[in-house]
């Protein structure tokens, strides 16, 4: 039961959920939640491949770096969100459309 296929399936499902959240939501923080889901999916993939191919732990290291990057991204991203909220009184993604036209 615990094999590569099942892990890839779970990570695939997580990825699709992340994409759904990213597109369907209009709240910036909710979009960040989706991004976290996608990052988790990829990290899970790496760990699974380590286990089921050569077990030399490089996948674990990559997963660790993904977690670190995700943490940094969450800090900066949320900082931007807070600042954006101070400026626009909104966290609606369509308000962040200054590139329009």
């Amino acid at each position: 039961m615990i094999n590569l296929g099942s892990y890839l399936g779970i990570s695939f499902a997580l990825f699709i959920c992340g994409i759904l959240v990213m597109i369907a939501r209009k709240n910036i923080i909710a979009i960040l939640l989706g991004i976290e889901l996608i990052l988790n999916a990829s990290a899970l993939n790496f760990a699974a491949y380590t286990k089921f191919s050569n077990n030399n732990l490089d996948g674990h290291i990559l997963s660790l770096f993904i977690i670190v990057t995700a943490a940094a991204e969450a800090a900066v991203g949320l900082g931007i969100v807070i600042r954006f909220f101070q400026l626009r009184e909104s966290i609606h993604i369509d308000d962040a459309a200054s590139l329009q036209n």
Binding site: I2, L4, G5, S6, Y7, L8, I10, F12, A13, L14, I16, C17, I19, L20, V21, M22, I23, A24, R25, K26, N27, I29, A30, L32, L33, G34, E36, L37, N40, A43, L44, A47, A48, K51, F52, S53, L57, H60, I61, L64, F65, I67, V68, A71, A72, A74, A75, V76, L78, G79, I80, V81, I82, F85, R88, E89, S90, I91, H92, D95
Partner: protein
């Protein structure tokens, strides 16, 4: 047996949490579901012997990122306003049928891509791969981080410092100039 049970529980928690994040109409709840999903992923890590990863997942995600997000949600007023500055109605912050429709299309496209890739990968993968027994990984990860991956490790530390300072600078309220 214990491992199988743990795997099933974790998988259920992960997928359930993720799907709940997709469908929840309350951002706070969504965040809590995300937390559950993260716990599940930690369990999945534990099932394949990645003990250090599981611990990190719990500490960083459950203990750090989600808390940060909860704070951000509370600071910005939760689920969000659906009225824009000019008093016109916007698309609901948590999405409506139209956005879900587009999201569905995108998800189908993305799943096609991913499935295609996975199919290619699984085709080459020998089905009889040797599965080694689980062993503690902390010591080996420590060694690897301090030897083979030292450059990446240092770069990520600098990146974290940059993120720390950057987040503080970005979100600091700027003084209004009165002159």
């Amino acid at each position: 047996m214990f491992t199988n049970t743990l795997f099933l529980l974790s998988a259920a928690l992960t997928l359930g949490g993720a799907i709940a994040v997709v469908y929840s109409q309350n951002l706070m709840h969504a965040c809590i579901y995300l937390l559950a999903s993260f716990f599940g992923v930690a369990g999945l890590y534990a099932c394949i012997g990645a003990d250090f990863l599981a611990a990190t997942q719990l500490v960083v995600y459950a203990g750090g990122v989600v808390i940060l997000m909860l704070f951000a949600i509370m600071l910005t007023g939760g689920t969000g306003n659906n009225i824009n500055r000019y008093g016109l109605e916007k698309i609901a912050a948590m999405g409506n049928k139209k956005t879900y429709f587009f999201a569905g299309i995108t998800a189908i496209l993305a799943s096609l891509i991913v499935l295609k890739i996975i199919a290619n990968v699984l085709k080459d993968q020998s089905t009889t791969a040797v599965i080694t027994a689980n062993a503690p990984t902390v010591e080996r990860i420590g060694t690897l981080l301090a030897t083979d991956h030292i450059l990446a490790f240092e770069i990520s530390s600098v990146m974290l410092l940059g993120a720390l300072i950057g987040a503080a600078v970005i979100s600091r309220p700027r003084k209004e100039r009165h002159d």
